[in-house]
Amino acid sequence: MTASVTELRVTPEDRRVAWLATAAVALSLVDAAIPSPLPGVKPGLANIVTLVVLIRYGWGTAVWVSGLRVLAGSLLLGYFLAPGFFLALTGSVFSLLVLGVARHLPSRWFGAVSLSILAAFAHIGGQLLLARLWLIPHNGVFLLTPLFAVAALVFGTINGLIAAKLLSDTPVAETTR
């Protein structure tokens, strides 16, 4: 007889987080496959999932999905605990913090696009800060800020539009798998 069996209870919430994180990981793989002219300028497609989760299931679920995505994505792409991992982590933490505040904006006026743009700027801001403090301790890092800012605005808007479309296309009941 086994002395004790640790029983893992899997709640529907756990399954949902796992499914959504899987989708996010898949999108980060797509992201990594898109060639980029400058390291750091990426569409950040996985953030579409984060946005949809945030708006539909709340901030806590978004944190889980985003965290799992960074962890699993880095393991799959082979940069776990490399500088790129900490950059991704910092970007995610900053954008989640901003999203945690921004989601209280009146939704009649501010939609997914607003959240997406704010998160994109927080993401790149956090990454630049980490790069300046840790990776390249020189103000030269900030020379490229305008390019990153343009990318944040453009991709933030596009991702926000896609998230808004997904949210309006799928009724609430359908996505609660």
């Binding site: 009146p106 006026w109 501010f110 743009i117 900030f142 808004a164």
Partner: protein
């Protein structure tokens, strides 16, 4: 436009604010000024300091041989160097203030300077 339907009034506001932020960061691209002079050093001593205005070539003697430096309007580079690894040659054109190519074996360096002398950690 179908996609415009997903934008709410505040979204336009955030987009405008984002665009303003991008505009505010644009001057950073010109931080440090424009490339105006090239400073060629040999063994730490200034060998030549030239305006990046015209086309000129320099032959800088060093312990290993001669390092060839080419100056063109707005840019400079090391053309040839007797060093074994050729790092300074492969660096190519230098066009921004603060950029530097160092041919360590032959003790030659080429640095670009703007109007204001921008110090970096190498200067200390």
């Amino acid at each position: 436009m179908r996609w415009l339907a997903y934008l709410r009034p505040g979204d336009w506001l955030v987009m405008a604010a984002g665009a303003a932020l991008v505009g505010a960061t644009l001057p950073l691209l010109w931080q440090g000024g424009f490339a105006e002079r090239a400073i060629i050093r040999q063994d730490g001593q200034v060998f030549a300091e030239v305006d990046l205005g015209s086309r000129r070539d320099f032959a800088v003697p060093g312990p290993l041989g001669t390092t060839l430096v080419a100056i063109e309007p707005g840019r400079a580079r090391v053309v040839a160097d007797p060093g074994p690894r050729q790092y300074c040659v492969r660096q190519g054109w230098l066009a921004r203030p603060g950029e530097i190519a160092i041919c360590a074996p032959n003790r030659v360096s080429v640095q670009i300077a703007g109007r204001t002398r921008a110090y970096d950690s190498l200067s200390y």
